[in-house]
């Protein structure tokens, strides 16, 4: 397919890897903050192409993985109600809550459905006026415009039976949280290209400056990721800490203005709890009061449900790049994609699932 296959050329990938090896004179730790990139790195073995002095560390880049367990419990509580059609992206279905996942609710007779787009949930609300349709709005900045449009459209159509369980999070505050962690050993970041497509590059500039780290907005194909690594290493070797754009075929420096306007119309910035990290101030989105009527948390009174993460799961350390999935004693033994202890083993983009799938046991 155009704009995919040409970025997977093996000879070109080796050329980039050789340039990285020539450039890197010291050990550098780079963090990618995108589950899609983590997956591509493991799938195509890009980490194995890199010289030993350049390490890729997988950050909190998977929205499914960073959704706190209590949000799952709230989803499960709503989905189990009679009269509710609960809609979610497929990757949330098997993420364990405290007692069960959404798939078990479905098995017990709940009407839980996978949708491709939040707009599909709006269409369901329209065609089922006697049912309550709830959409589980998870994701980063990339997904927020679609969720914002779904809410705005439901408001425009006067759909009183539509609501959203919002668990949207923002990438730049998570990068700051990683940098502020005393255990942090990250020298540079690959920022997710589709997040930057929406927000533009400006949110990253103060971070690059304050913490003196290069941040390179990077695409998702092997050549994109390797070029992102090379640009980042070049900056590090030259002592620069700038925001650079590897993925200019999609990312404009100013971002996607219409999408940002729609996000700001419907959502406001709120503190959010991240699985394994805890609450990060101003790190997520919640509905503005003009759209509060569409908030499933208040409509179904589930906001008071709180829960703690399972003790054995080291998702927090994995998500912050402090530990590799294979360093977890439960990895591949008591925790597998069939019987996951935590979200990073469930989502196809979770670091644990990627390590398991591509047989990285070391």
């Amino acid at each position: 397919m155009k704009y995919i296959d040409e970025y997977r050329d093996a000879a070109a990938a080796r050329k980039l890897a050789a340039a990285i090896a020539r450039t890197a004179t010291r050990p550098w730790n780079l963090m990618e903050v995108c589950g899609g990139q983590t997956h591509a790195i493991l799938r195509f073995g890009l980490d194995e192409l890199l010289p030993p002095q350049v390490a890729l560390i997988h950050g909190p880049g998977c929205p499914v993985c960073v959704t706190p367990i209590e949000m799952l419990d709230r989803a499960v509580a709503i989905a189990a109600r009679p009269g509710v059609i609960f809609c979610s992206f497929g990757d949330m279905f098997r993420v364990p809550g405290s007692t069960k996942d959404l798939l078990s609710v479905k098995a017990e007779g709940g009407d839980v459905r996978i949708v491709y787009s939040p707009m599909d949930a709006v269409a369901l609300a329209r065609s089922n006026p006697d049912r309550q349709v709830v959409f589980f709005a998870i994701g980063f900045e990339t997904t927020a415009p679609a969720n914002a449009m779904a809410v705005a459209q439901a408001a425009k159509l006067g759909l009183a039976n539509f609501s959203v369980l919002v668990s949207l999070v923002l990438v730049p505050p998570a990068i700051v949280a990683v940098l502020q962690s005393p255990a942090s050993r990250i020298h540079g970041f690959l920022a997710a290209g589709h997040v930057a497509t929406i927000t533009g590059l400006d949110p990253y500039r103060p971070i690059a400056e304050k913490y003196h780290v290069p941040i390179v907005a990077t695409g998702f194909e092997p050549l994109d990721i390797l070029q992102g690594v090379l640009l980042c290493v070049r900056q590090l070797e030259a002592g620069r800490a700038e925001v650079e754009n590897q993925y200019a075929r999609s990312v404009r420096p100013e971002g996607n203005r219409p999408a940002m306007r729609q996000i700001e119309e419907v959502f406001r910035v709120v503190p959010r709890k991240w699985r394994g990290i805890g609450e990060i101030p101003a790190s997520g989105l919640g509905l503005r009061k003009e759209y509060a009527a569409f908030d499933a948390e208040t409509r179904f009174a589930v906001g008071q449900i709180v829960a703690d993460e399972p003790a054995e799961c080291i998702a927090g350390a994995v998500l912050q790049g402090h530990k590799k999935p294979s360093e977890c004693p439960a990895f591949g033994v008591r925790c597998t994609p069939d019987r996951p202890l935590g979200a990073p083993m469930v989502s196809a983009e979770g670091a644990c699932a990627a390590y398991f799938r591509y047989r990285r046991r070391q």
């Binding site: 340039a19 992206f89 787009s117 599909d120 980063f140 679609a146 994109d224 219409p258």
Partner: protein, 86 residues
Amino acid sequence: MCLGIPGKLVETYAQDDLPMGRVEFGGVRKEVCLAYTPEAAVGDYVIVHVGFAISRVDEAEAREIFSYLRQIGEAGAEQEGGGGRG
């Protein structure tokens, strides 16, 4: 989660006051909301995420990486003392 797939915009229309389009991904066609890419025209490639086009692919920028590869190829050949091009 932030998966975005490039596809070719083959048709545009409006539905419930929203600009919509049909986008082709290697033979599969999907309905996509174009509210966030007002600049996209039939024949353009757009990157699609959960039913929304989030950007129009810039063709000139898409080729950049290949001229970058030629540059580093030449630099590498020189550094390794080959002196040859290519």
